[in-house]
């Protein structure tokens, strides 16, 4: 956990200049035209909510729903924090898109060989000691990058120092928390942030109990079915033996008479 990196997004400081969006698109070689929502060529977008600007981006969960859902394990949490997608494993089932509580993963619908696309927190750059393109481009320090522990402390400092902030860090505990943290001077629910469906529990807990029951069900079901089969067989044997007995008795009777 000590090495975990994170991104802190301050909605109060954001001026809506779209520098982060453009920098991201330039880095990935996409056309820099702004897009209304996340897409396979927009891994982060700035949405306007009233007079506020809200960045949408992968939350890089600590216990990601997408990673737990992927049937081939193509998505995983890396030590530095980014949730990474391995295109070589992906089969394109799109279950990650169903599972993600923030509906972040996007798909290349127009391609003949389509892949899932989402923010990787510029994993290559941060492994080399740098920072993501979006935080580097931010002129107002609204998006900053750093160690997760330090950024959490920084977020609380801002909340404590300025009473206009909502006393909540969105993304710190939602669905088990993640590496993208939001602070805001407008209540989060007014900005379109949804309460995580599991509260502070990681999403994979939703399936854990159903999957955890299966060995018990299999063992119990197998035992019961075997027992029933044994009873069926036994009854059949008894019926056969009785019929044979009857036949022998009848034959003896026939011989006597």
């Amino acid at each position: 956990m000590a090495r975990r990196k994170a991104m802190l997004i301050d909605i109060k400081r954001c001026i809506g200049c779209l520098s982060c969006e453009t920098a991201c698109k330039q880095l990935h070689g996409f056309s820099t035209d702004p897009e209304p929502t996340l897409s396979d060529t927009a891994f982060t977008v700035v949405e306007t909510r009233g007079d506020k600007f809200v960045r949408k981006v992968c939350m890089h969960c600590e216990d990601p729903a997408c990673a737990s859902a992927c049937p081939v394990g193509a998505i995983g949490k890396s030590a530095l924090g980014p949730v990474l997608y391995n295109a070589d494993k992906c089969i394109g089932c799109r279950y990650c898109m169903i599972a993600c509580p923030y509906s972040v993963p996007r798909y290349q619908w127009t391609k003949v060989a389509p892949y899932v696309k989402k923010c990787d927190l510029c994993s290559e750059r941060i492994r080399a000691g740098g920072q993501p393109a979006c935080t580097e481009a931010c002129p107002s320090q609204a998006s900053v990058f750093g160690n997760r522990d330090e950024l959490i402390a920084e977020a609380w400092n801002r909340i404590r120092a300025d009473s206009s902030y909502v006393p909540h860090i969105y993304g710190l505990e939602e669905a088990g928390g993640g590496c993208v943290l939001f602070v805001s001077d407008v209540p989060f629910e007014k900005l379109g942030f949804k309460a995580a469906p599991t509260g502070n529990q990681p999403m994979p807990t939703l399936t854990a109990s159903a999957l955890g029951d299966s060995p018990k069900v299999v063992i119990m079901g197998g035992t019961i079915l075997s027992a029933l089969y044994w009873v069926t067989q036994r009854r059949r044997e008894v019926a056969l033996a009785e019929a044979e007995e009857k036949a022998i008795i009848n034959r003896i009777k026939g011989e006597r008479s």
Binding site: T37, L38, S39, A65, S68, A69, C70, P71, V72, G73, A74, K89, C90, I91, G92, C93, R94, Y95, M97, I98, A99, P101, S103, R106, Y107, W109, T110, K111, V112, A113, P114, Y115, K194, A196, P197, T198, M203, P204, L206, T207, A208, S209, A210, L211, S214, V217, V218, G221, G222, L225, S226, L228, Y229, T232, Q233, R235, R236
Partner: protein
Amino acid sequence: MLARIKSEITLWRVIVAIIFITGMYATYLRFLVGFRASTNLSDQMPWGLWVGLGTLCGIGLSAAGFGISAAVYLLGMERYRPILRASILISFLGYMTVCVGYLYEIGLPWRFWHPIVMWNHTSVLFDVCVCIMTYTAVLTFEFAPAVIEKLPWKRFRETVLQYHHKILIGVVLAGVLLSSMHQSYLGGLYLIARGKVHPLWYSQYMHAMFYLSAIPAGLALTVMAIYLSMRSLNVRVDFGILSDCGRMIQLLLIVFAFFKVLDLAANQAWGYAFQRTSEAGYFWLEMMLLLAIPIFLLSYERVRSNPERLYWTCAIVVAGFMVNRLNVSINSLQAAMGTHYVPKWTELASSVLVIAAGVMAFRYAVIYLDILPKSIPKPLSRWISNGGLPAQA
């Protein structure tokens, strides 16, 4: 000559031709042009008709195979043996259509084998994949004797069938467990989508709901298929067996209804059923078709013992079941995902193509193999073993 060609053209042949031409065109669009050209799927609705109809309905309606084989092999309900092979065949073909549909659904179909070697045990979909693959193998094994007994090599036939018989019970038992697992895991797929699935369908016991609803629906489809075989393929089955199936379907539907009512109450979701939303409408459509109407109709002896009436009642069950699966996979997600999804015609055409291929395979299997007892021996009698009598499975 022209007159002869004309006489060959019947309504059903024209329909089949249309299905195959449109289906092949849709297949071309899917594999050589892409999802955008062949579907209305989007980032807001990543799973559509192929998953809802192809996989969820396909697997669910193929549930009779494990139900009937458990009844006959494990519980000794010999009464159902005459329809055992037919139900296994329906399941086998149903799973085949799902396996083919899987290639349409995944974006990179040439990687279909990845789940076999790349495991992720926390994924419900991984468990579904592995269970379906294994169970398809089980169904192939259970169905194999019908083909093997037609082979001309006597020694080979006898040896194989002898070994087959020795391990059959074990395989049947494994099949029942595998089926129970993935029938329920198909519902379990949506457990992680809490907050997206509408409360009328979301429950922490979604997997159990899927399991309970699949068995009566699978039985209903089997009754329909056997009725149609009796009508058009010279098959003679004691109708009393199908009547009993009707009774069984009713019982299973009552069990499902009981748990559905309880489940909605436990989730405090009944309020949503009386809101003026499209979800509530779809919910009541499902409740009427899948539960209320069939349970009511099947309580009448007049319905159960009349082939035509039983057939149509089973058709209502199957329709209601399909509404249920499409509700869960499509209608329940639309509001939360902020989208309105209507499948493109190509999605429907390719699904219908795959299903039609399964139906045709069923028809030819019933004609040329000993699936169901027949009244008149069909041609190709040299292929029929055991003196023309339907062999025991």
